[in-house]
Amino acid sequence: MSDINIKKVSYLAKLALNDDKAALYEKSLSEIIEWVDNLKKIDTEGVKPLHNITEKNQNMRNDEVLKKNSTEEILSNAPEKAQNFFRVPKVVE
């Protein structure tokens, strides 16, 4: 059995799980982690991690500011806005 602390994991992921859901996901994650644990059987001593298939030919471009969107356009999807800003509850105490 794995040692998954589902409350801690969901806290890190900013997800709230009620007790029923927490139990369900804890069981599900345990099963999946146990299933992927067969990787322990393959020897990877000295093998470099592969982040991306295109590791050798990633393209760089100049970091230039392109003004493609207006403030109005960007804010059009905001759930709440005020003037030219995204609106959120007060953060500073």
């Binding site: 992921a13 299933w35 990787l39 093998v47 295109t54 030919n57 493609k68 995204f86 959120v88």
Partner: protein, 479 residues
């Protein structure tokens, strides 16, 4: 069967107008009861595009996909058109920009019918995780005629719509099999190009080292038409390859002027049903007639591919989906603090499978587990890539089944691991970043489509489409 080439001929010869063509598909799509579109665009929206397309035909200046009605998986940002990734969290999201892939399709004259349903954030193999409900496969099991079957996933809406012929073709995305598996289950053609072929700019991100757009079509030639449009370099995607693209139509229907060898991996076939093995045997028989040689090959890493994938893909997903916080766009839950808004937006906005994957990803990336899982999986990923390179030194293509089973009943597979097993033959290729195509190869005893997968070397899509087009001619497929 009506192909893009045939439709273009009819449009050029004035046998049909662009408007008539559009109306024909729009009306069929409107009547469809398979839920393969999250949104069908109102005809008014396409009015000007149709007029422009018609005048290009009138002036004999038609573009490569002029007037062709397409479906677009609802994972591509389309400017001014809601893009939901089939998730509640993006229910009201209207992109302010066009994805590179869909921009290319528009530049080539195609007309968008609407946005195809898919699994939520492309996470699923049956299209059952969509916030907009499951998509139904147009095929029926002849022994259980009343059952609704899944179309596969995650590009299930695309595959179902193409199979039902309510759009000429569709553009999907494939992370671990999301183009090929639904194509196989719906009896159509699905191509996942080499990673880096098609820009990920404007594609809602799932696992950025794996996501790749590609066509779902009724014929191999149609897939070549679409790939010609969507495969291009884009400086907005740092993993986009800037090599010169082939004309992918160049090899269609032509025999090879050199001997071709295809490898069949015995380790892929050890646990599959006789029906699936029959597909491989039939393919072999057909291609042997064309002077193509077959050799047995063996991989040493196949048993580890799914585990590797189910660490890497959720890890990348948990990072990519951190952006959905209810602040700048998407669904916002109630809360008196930022923290409450974050948590409530995410907990209420994401569906069950997406939450599962975020949790897996968060766990394997968390302190104390990172090396044991995520780093380990990345090491195995290199071994998988090297394994393919070793095998591809001796053969031109690799032939495997696309899926271990035919389409199954909606609601039948409840266990996540059982669902993940659907992608056992498609995931290794995704991890290696190689191009692969699924072709309908025959029918099961239940009269459901089965498919085979051909895998090529990096950026060899032209050859892959060529061999697929030869094979397509050989299959006697009464679809």
């Amino acid at each position: 069967m009506t192909t893009i080439k045939e439709i273009k001929d009819q449009l050029s010869n004035k046998k049909i107008s662009v408007q008539e063509l559009y109306d024909e598909y729009y009306n069929k799509a409107k009547k469809s009861e398979l839920n393969s579109f999250n949104q069908l665009l109102e005809p008014e929206y396409n009015k000007q595009n149709i007029i422009n397309s018609q005048s290009r035909y009138n002036e004999k200046k038609d573009l490569p996909l002029d007037g062709i009605p397409l479906g677009i998986k609802d994972l591509f940002c389309t400017k001014g058109i809601p893009t939901t990734a089939s998730s509640k969290i993006l229910e009201k999201f209207i992109p302010q920009y066009e994805s590179r892939v869909t921009q290319n399709l528009l530049n080539d004259g195609s007309i968008f019918l609407g946005k195809n349903n898919c699994d939520e954030f492309a996470m699923g193999s049956s299209n059952e995780t969509s916030f907009y409900g499951p998509v139904i496969n147009p095929w029926k099991n002849k022994n259980q005629i009343n059952d609704h079957l899944v179309p596969g996933g995650s590009s299930g809406g695309s595959a179902s719509a193409v199979a039902e012929k309510i759009c000429v073709a569709s553009i999907g995305t494939d992370t671990g099999g999301s183009i090929r598996q639904p194509a196989s289950l719906c009896g159509v053609v699905g191509l996942k190009p080499t990673f880096g072929s098609c820009s990920r700019w404007g594609v809602v991100a799932f696992a950025s080292s794996l996501d790749q757009a590609g066509p779902i079509t009724n014929t191999v030639e149609d897939a070549a038409y679409l790939l010609n449009s969507v495969s291009s370099y884009d400086s907005n995607d740092s993993t986009s390859s800037n090599h010169k693209r082939d004309n992918f139509l160049g090899g269609i229907g032509r025999s090879f002027d050199r001997p071709i060898t295809i490898g069949i991996p015995s380790d892929y076939l050890k646990d599959v049903s006789s029906e699936i093995i029959e597909q491989i045997e039939n393919t072999k028989k057909h291609l042997t007639n064309l002077n193509i040689n077959f050799v047995d090959v063996e991989f040493t890493t196949t048993d580890f591919a799914l585990s590797t994938y189910y660490i890497i893909a959720p890890a990348e997903a948990s990072s990519n989906l951190a952006r959905y916080d209810g602040i700048r766009y998407g669904y916002r839950g109630k809360g008196d603090s930022l923290e409450e808004i974050y948590v409530n937006s995410r907990s209420e906005g994401f569906g069950e499978e997406v939450i599962r994957r975020i949790l897996i990803g968060t766990y394997v990336l968390s302190a104390g587990y990172y090396d044991a899982y995520y780093r380990k999986a990345q090491r195995v990923r290199r071994l998988i890539k090297d394994d393919f390179q070793r095998v591809l030194k001796d053969v031109d293509f690799i032939l495997t089944p696309t899926t271990p089973n035919e389409a199954f009943k909606i609601g039948e597979k409840l266990d996540p691991i059982a669902m993940y097993m659907n992608d056992i033959f498609t995931v290794p290729t995704s991890l290696a970043g190689l191009p692969a195509i699924s072709l309908p190869s025959g029918l099961s005893k239940n009269n459901l489509p089965l498919g085979i997968q051909l895998i090529g070397n990096y950026f060899q899509e032209k050859n892959l489409l060529q061999i697929a087009s030869l094979l397509e001619k050989e299959f006697v497929f009464n679809g």
